[in-house]
């Protein structure tokens, strides 16, 4: 099968054009925007809230708001960050409402939950050492504070820049960097023990890497 590369797109071009068309009043751009973002927003929203119907409701509300205020929207925003932030806010607000309703104390910053599920059935072939290490990474990440988990997820899974992560989490860029920094430091500490034992194992079989101590 012959394959011809006719052009290379810069990542993110498509959603920006949908957004601009939508803000300019183009009729079908709204649908295109929805088609592009519905799945992503849903996956993103489910990180904060286990109630899938609530997430769907809030995505509905988000798009209805977009449509209502479309003439006042800025065509040059970073679309992904804007939509993610908006949805996150709605989820937090919904959570707060529920808290008040059930009489529990209001949500503090780190109590907004963040759920990462790890893929345990991987089909890529790994050696035992790597699989073991990744499994330990998963365990330790889940023990990190929620905000740190969130920052790591946005930075390394969604592959967003620090500006975008800060935008979505509504904190400063410095806070984001610090959160990521601290999280990784913690992971390193927790995972050092594993590393040492695997390093020793490796030493027996391969030329030894230099241990930094």
């Amino acid at each position: 099968m012959r394959r011809r590369i006719s052009s290379v797109y810069m990542a993110g071009l498509i959603e920006n054009s949908y957004w601009r068309d939508f803000v300019a009043g183009e009729a079908h751009a709204f649908r295109m925007l929805y088609n592009y973002y519905a799945d992503r927003l849903f996956t993103f929203g489910c990180r904060y809230c286990g109630d899938v119907d609530l997430v769907k409701d809030l995505i509905h509300d988000l798009f209805v708001d977009l449509h209502r205020y479309r003439l006042r929207l800025n065509p040059e925003v970073h679309v992904t960050a804007y939509l993610y932030r908006s949805l996150r806010r709605k989820i937090t607000a919904a959570g707060k409402k529920q808290q008040q309703y059930t009489g529990l104390h209001p949500l503090l910053n780190d109590e907004q939950p963040f759920l990462i599920e790890w893929d345990t059935e991987q089909t890529t072939i790994r050696n035992e050492e790597e699989a073991e290490l990744m499994s330990r990474v998963a365990d330790e990440v889940n023990k990190l504070p929620n905000r740190q988990q969130e920052a790591l997820y946005l930075r390394f899974t969604c592959e967003l820049d620090y500006d975008e992560v800060a935008d979505i989490m509504e904190v400063s860029v410095a806070s984001c960097r610090t959160a990521v920094y601290r999280a990784i430091k913690t992971l390193r500490e927790k995972l050092e023990e594993t590393r040492i034992s695997t390093q020793l194992f490796t030493i027996l079989l391969l030329p030894s890497p230099i241990l930094r101590r």
């Binding site: 006719s6 183009e26 599920e117 790597e130 920094y181």
Partner: protein, 383 residues
């Protein structure tokens, strides 16, 4: 060929603060560091890979469509907008009233036929689960297996009236399946994945009418006394007898008709606003919903009907379009980062009897991309 200057995100990661630097003890507030030390590389890789493989919940096609319907309903024009439109449309409304009255007396060309009304109510069943189903009048539902050919026999009518009061059946073909229908006159229709066809129990004496959402290949027996009509949301295809393909999926931005031999006439319906058109063999007419234009081109028609032979012929087909079609045919979601799923065009032939992962491995170099399948979802990642 034009190449934009493109900096992949993972390179930006390296220029920004990367995991290895942090593990190496660098201050996050400062800029770049030098090369990270060796032993931290394993841990850094493990962390990055773990985050690359996080499990995620996703929307099914029908959930996504249902949610869109809710949004659409909630964003209907407000009362004041509706009033303005009503005033503007009141003249047209009078004309419609006249037409509606004339419906009692005889057939009219301009209003919606009964089959369209019936079909539009039914043509929103969820399509990503279940088997091929035939819904008959009296609300009986038959479930069919993949290889059944559906023969519609000339059943005796339950009432004695002619043509107009005929009740309708609907055949639903979910994503991942396809089927063939044979009508009493010998006409055949192949329905592609994610399609629905509504048709009367018995064809009328002066016409044979069906309503299609999705994609169908039609091989119609010639009968000058009874033209064959294919209604879609925005296009009416009129045939005396011939072979053609119609594609009108709700979530595509177009409706298209491709003529292999014979002659068909096209008429705009609903949102489809174009002049009546006769199509010659070897040409394809596309109504673009966004641009609201009708394009007619002489084309090699095989590309558009190869699906009936379980093949997909591609001619400079964009990756984005190919993905949509493969998702429907295999009823599997294909996901990946933005730049993995756009940009290239393909020419060639895909064998649709192959599992989807195999096909994707021919499109994406296995040395550079990792294709992972979990049930109804495929994830494509750069290594």
């Amino acid at each position: 060929m034009i190449f934009f200057l493109y900096i992949p995100k993972h390179v930006i990661n390296l220029m920004d603060k990367n995991v290895e630097d942090i593990l190496g003890g660098e201050d996050p507030k400062r800029g770049l560091s030098g090369k990270p030390a060796g032993p931290t590389k394993k841990l850094a890789t493990a962390i990055l890979e773990s985050f690359g493989q996080v499990k995620s919940v996703s929307l099914s096609r029908s959930e996504k469509e249902a949610l869109w319907k809710r949004i659409e309903a909630s964003t209907q024009p407000s009362k004041s907008e509706r009033l303005v439109r009503w005033i503007g449309g009141s003249v047209a409304a009078c004309a419609l009233a006249v037409l509606a009255i004339s419906l009692w007396v005889g057939k009219s060309d301009d209003d919606q036929p009964a089959i369209a009304i019936a079909a539009q109510n039914i043509h929103n069943l969820p399509l990503d689960t279940g088997d091929i189903k035939l819904n008959t009048p009296g609300n009986r539902t038959l479930t069919l297996t993949d290889d059944d050919v559906v023969h519609i026999s000339a059943l005796a009518r339950t009432n004695g009236d002619s043509g107009k009061d005929s009740a309708f059946s609907t055949l639903t073909v979910p994503y991942g399946k396809r089927t063939e229908v044979v009508f009493p006159d010998g006409s055949k229709v192949w329905l592609n994945a994610g399609s629905q066809l509504t048709f009367p129990e018995v064809f009328d004496e002066d016409q044979r009418t069906v309503y299609l959402t999705g994609e169908g290949y039609f091989d119609i027996k010639h009968d000058a006394r009874r033209p064959f009509y294919v209604y879609t949301a925005d296009m009416l295809v009129t045939v005396l007898g011939t072979a053609f393909n119609v594609s009108s999926y709700r979530d595509d931005p177009f409706t298209a008709a491709v003529l292999l031999n014979g002659k068909i006439a096209l008429k705009g319906l609903g949102d489809g606003n174009f002049e009546d058109r006769i199509l010659e063999p070897g040409s394809r007419a596309v109504w673009q919903r966004e641009d609201r234009t009708l394009q007619v081109k002489q084309e090699d028609t095989d590309e558009y009907v190869s699906w009936t032979r379980k093949q997909l012929v591609l001619k400079s087909t964009t990756l984005a379009e190919l993905r949509v079609r493969l998702e429907r045919i295999y009823n599997t979601q294909i996901t990946g980062e933005n730049d993995v799923l756009t940009g290239e065009t393909f020419s060639g032939v895909l064998d649709l009897t192959q599992p989807l992962a195999n096909l994707l491995n021919t499109l994406y170099d296995p040395l550079k991309y990792n294709i992972q399948q979990e049930e109804r979802r495929i994830i494509i990642r750069r290594r």
